[in-house]
Structure formats: C-alpha cells, structure tokens
Symmetry: C2
Subunit: 351 residues, 2 copies
C-alpha cells in the first residue's frame, strides 16, 4: 500500500514485524536460529513490503559480491556464446550473477579487462585461452582470485584450465586425412598472435605432417576474424591459385570451412571429390550444409558448466580449481574423402 516510499529495508521490516533487525536478518539467512513465530511475522512483513535485501549492503558487509566475471573474446562466435550460456545458467541457478566482458581474440591485452571486471566486484573469473602475459599472471596470483581458463588445456600452477587439447584435436584430424591418402594440405588459421589455441593447432598440423614425412605438404594461411564469411573464401582462393596440389584443407573454425566450401563451388571445385575440407567447432549449421562438414566437436557447453561448478566450489568450499581436459571428437561427415589423383601425377600402382 505504501506507494512512493523508496524501498523497504531491514528496519522497515523489523518495525512492521515487531522484531529487531537482527531477527529479520536471521529469519532470511539462518532461519533455524529464529523462533517459528517471529520467522512467520518477518516473512509476512517482508512480503507485504516487497522487501528484498540490498545487494550492495550485503556485499559490503559480507565482503562477498556473488558476482562472477567472464572475459571472453566475443559473443558473436557461437561456441563462446554457447559456453557463456551454460556458464551463466549454472551460476544464476546457484544465486550468482555473471558479468561478461568481451575482449577480442588477442590475449595480450586481457589484463585491462580482467582488472576492470575484478574492480567491479567479480570474485571469480572465467577466462579463455592460455594466460601468458606475465603482468596478468602476477596480478591473478597476488589477487588470489579463483579463476579458470577455458578452451586451452595446459598444466599451469596458477591458472587452472578446463579445456581441451587443441594440439591433439588437430593432430587427429590431420592423421585422419593422411590415412585417407592426403599428402598436401593447407591449414586456414585465425590470427596467431596472442592466441595459443591457434598456435597449438598450427603446431599440431605441422608436426603431424612432419612426423609422416610430409614436410613439403604444409601450408599455413593466417586469416583475421573480421567478416569471417569472407576469410574462408579468400583462403580458398589463395590455395587454389598458389597451392594447386593441396587436396585437403584444415580450417580452424567452421565458419572458415563453410565459406571455403562455398568458394570451392564458385571455383568449380567439388568437395570432397576434388578437395577435402575439415572444420573446427561443430556449429549447428555444419549438418545442414551440403556437403555436411567433417569437423572437430568441441565441448563448449560442458566447459561452461564445468567451469561454473569449479568456481563455485572454490568460492563456497575453498576447494582448489582443478584442471580438466575434456574431450573433443572428430565428427566425420561428407566433406572429406580420399584425394583425387591429380591428372599429371597418376601412377598406376596407386589407383
């Protein structure tokens, strides 16, 4: 009924319920330590007044904000959106709130974003990628804030990771292609600077090729993320003109792969007959594309959920955040097959 009064606080409720503010507070936070009758009165009064505790006051008093921060490269990439979504869902259900801040793909300037979000009250952090900046590392170490990094997996004493093995995932894809008979491949990578995931995939590609003696079949094309739908096409054109012997293209993102395939169509290249293409991520779209994309499925939602649980464990039970290596999966669909035998090189024994 009281219409214009700002907002009820503990005192208002206490007065209305005829008890002290201590009792009001206890009724909400440690109900067992309040008599049933008083508790009842408090709840009624609170309901009547539309009371809800002031989060700032609570945070100040408790030295605990119930805020968790996520610093991610971008929300525009479905995998990050998916991870963030799962993270947020899990945390919201447990009474936490999540701040998300996007920071681009270059981890070299993550420090500012992290500082900002911590200064805004985040008491735990989800990050993406390996944390290499020494200033960030020591900041995290000194500040002692529970944090976890995702998408990468590596043994790091100060920043545990809940991610997957980018190197191994790529290696698996490359070995699959080698088994199929491919000897000359190109990788379409995102910007490598400050992005350990891209770097790991590149190494996975190079070293696997080399391990199979295919030193001459290694081509790396680095593309930016802007207008991703063009980048794959650009890369494909470059491959077509500069590396005509390439029979398989390993893309570090499904968007690259799909737009590369689209470009193949324009170039008159059949996928997979003329050229095989594999992606990375396993976006939803990959299955309805034709040819359906062979790609590496990434545990995006699982990373988000797992990270959420670990961080809450750290916050509420003081548990250390444990690193976890989640699995990826090579999903073989229609965009890969045995290579065409280039006309000039047909050798009877191979047929």
């Amino acid at each position: 009924m009281k219409s214009q009064k700002a907002k009820a606080n503990v005192f208002d409720v206490a007065k209305a319920a005829g008890v002290s503010v201590a009792t009001v507070s206890r009724a909400f936070n440690i109900p067992d330590r309040v008599g049933a009758e008083a508790r009842e009165k408090v709840f009624n009064a609170a309901m009547q007044l539309g009371y809800s505790p002031n989060p700032a006051a609570k945070a100040l008093r408790l030295q605990k904000s119930f805020i968790i921060g996520a610093v991610i490269p971008s929300l525009d990439y479905s995998m990050f959106a998916r991870m963030t979504h799962a993270f947020e869902e899990q945390l919201t259900a447990a009474g936490y709130s999540v701040f998300v801040v996007t920071n681009g793909f270059d981890n070299r300037n993550m420090l500012d974003a992290v500082k900002k979000i911590v200064e805004r009250g985040a008491e735990a952090l989800l990050l993406v990628g390996k944390i290499e900046d020494p200033r960030l590392r020591s900041y995290l170490e000194e500040t002692q804030i529970p944090c976890v990094t995702t998408y990468s997996y590596n043994e790091d004493p100060i920043v545990p990771s809940i991610g997957f093995d980018n190197y191994a995932a790529t290696k698996q894809a490359v070995e699959f292609l080698i088994r199929l008979g491919h000897r000359n491949m190109a990788m379409v990578a995102g910007p490598l600077q400050g992005n350990d995931r891209q770097q790991a995939r590149m190494r996975g590609f190079e070293e696997t090729m080399r391990a199979h003696g295919l030193n001459d079949g290694i081509h790396i094309i680095e593309k930016s993320y802007g207008a991703a739908m063009m980048q794959g096409a650009d890369a494909m054109r470059q491959i077509y003109y500069e590396f005509p012997d390439v029979t398989a293209v390993v893309c570090n993102a499904d968007v690259f792969a799909l737009s590369a395939i689209a470009e193949c169509r324009r170039l008159g290249l059949r996928v997979p007959e003329d050229i095989s293409v594999v992606g990375f991520d396993d976006d939803d779209y990959t299955t309805i594309f034709s040819p359906a994309l062979t790609t590496i499925a990434v545990p995006a939602a699982e990373m988000g959920r797992h990270a959420a649980r670990s961080l809450m464990g750290a916050l509420t039970a003081g548990r250390r955040v444990m690193s976890a290596r989640l699995d990826t999966q090579l999903v073989v669909r229609e965009s890969t097959s045995v290579p065409r035998i280039a006309a000039a090189k047909i050798s009877p024994e191979v047929a």
Copy 2:
C-alpha cells in the same frame, strides 16, 4: 610492498598520502575540488597501494550500482548474442557492467527473471519482446526502473521498445513472394505462446495472404526451438506430404529455413525451382549456403547499441527512454524465384 594485506581502502590511501579520506574520495571523484598537490599525493599513494574503490561500498553509499541487466531468451541464437554483444560493449565502455540472464522464449515467465536481476542490483533493464504479463507490467511501473524492450516495436506507455516491425517485415516478404507468383505458402513459426514476435509474423503472413484473396494458401506450422536444425527439416517434410501445393515457405528463423532447404535436398526438391524458401534474421551463414538464402535482415547490433545509449541517457540525464522503430531489410538472394507450375494445373494463359 605490503604483500598479504587484504586490499587497500580509502583510509589506507589517506594515511599513506597524509590527507583525510574525504580528500582521497574527492581526488578521484571531483578532482577540481582538491589542491593539485594533495591530488598528486593521493594518486601516488593509490597507485602504490593498488587501490581501487570498493564497488559495493560505492553502490551502497551512492544508491547506484552501475549495473544494467539484460534478460534475453537465449545466447545460443546468434541474433541475441549479437545484440547482447553490442549492448555490453557500449555499456562497458561507459563504466557500466551488465548482467545477462537467459530466460527462454516464452515471455510469460519473465517476471521471475526480471525480479531476480533487479534484486541483484540492476538499475536498468534490457528485455526482449512485448511485455504483456500484467504482473510484470505493474512491477516495472511501480519500481520505476528504466527499461526498454527489443525485437518488438509497439507503442507502450510503460515499456518503450527499440525494435522493428515484425508484422511489416513478414508482410514485405510475403508480398514479394506473391508478386513472384506464389499463391500457396506455408509459414514455419517458432512457438507462438508468449512470443509476440512470432505472433506478429503469423498475422503478417495471414493477413497479407487474405488481403490478396489467397485464403486457401495459408498454412502455419509451429515448431519448437529445441534442436532447431531438426525443426526446419520436420516442417519441410510435413509440408511436402500434407501441403503438396505449397510453392513457398516463409521461415521465422534462418535456422529453420536452412534446415528446411537441407531437407528439400533429401526430398529431391530443388530450391528455388521447385520451392522457394525465405528466412528471418540474416545470420552470417546465409550467404555461404547454397542456394544463398533470401531472408529478412534484422538490426541486432543496432538494437543493442541503441538500447544501451537510451538506458544510459535515462540513468545519467533522467531522459525518458524513447521508443524507436529500426528498419529491417528483405535481402533477396538465391532461394526464391517464380513458382514452378504444378503439372496438373498448367493453364496456357499463365505461362
């Protein structure tokens, strides 16, 4: 140097700088009202101690949290991710933080999410879709919290909207198809319950068809959002078997459209020769799909940015949030053409 001390506060800085806490506070917030010398000392001390103001204390004292909340259906849909991204970017740059909470597509239970986010301190709100729940409406009205809803546009005295005209957008697509010669169409819609955008698009479809005397050519297929990649395919199969005369399919999401086209392939239906398909959203993927999708481009990022600015205007300058109708665009690509003339119905004059 002081290593294990929790965190410096105003008193620590004041002591180190040899001034009072009032001066410390002023040095940061109203620097002109502090002598240059004192200011200097304060900044040095603060830097030394790694001081940053406690946001909870600040919020409590100022009765202002610098937190803005966004309640969106899902982050997994690229358009929402894109809007949220733009919203967040704009606000973060201005010193605000954003809480995002996802709530599913049915606005009938948005109230809880809104209450929760407000109780967590949000001082302004971005919502999605028309707010019809009377309880939510009166909550927003009483609480006087600046808020804006997106994706829908409608004159609403209590919840201004920064969105677009779903009805008109669909109407435009349908008229385009009619002009092409289509007389029998199906709409593939998301769940209509509690989703005014879907409802508006359905009305746009039905009424436009009727306005052209095509009452018999109206088919609505309602699909859920779960596993969206299946839904379009399911719908397409249903159309194929139950409404064989349909020559154009209007999908209320690109995911529906793309998976419908994929299903056409399986069904042996050529797009657009045998059947035209139009989407909604203009996802990135639509251009690399073959056929490239004719669809309705939605101003996702623009809504986010615009909403951010409006909310900040309301918060800082007390400006009322003004509704704004942003434009959509029918982007005609390859998935639409004149209809095939069903064999049984060929009439010489029409050819």
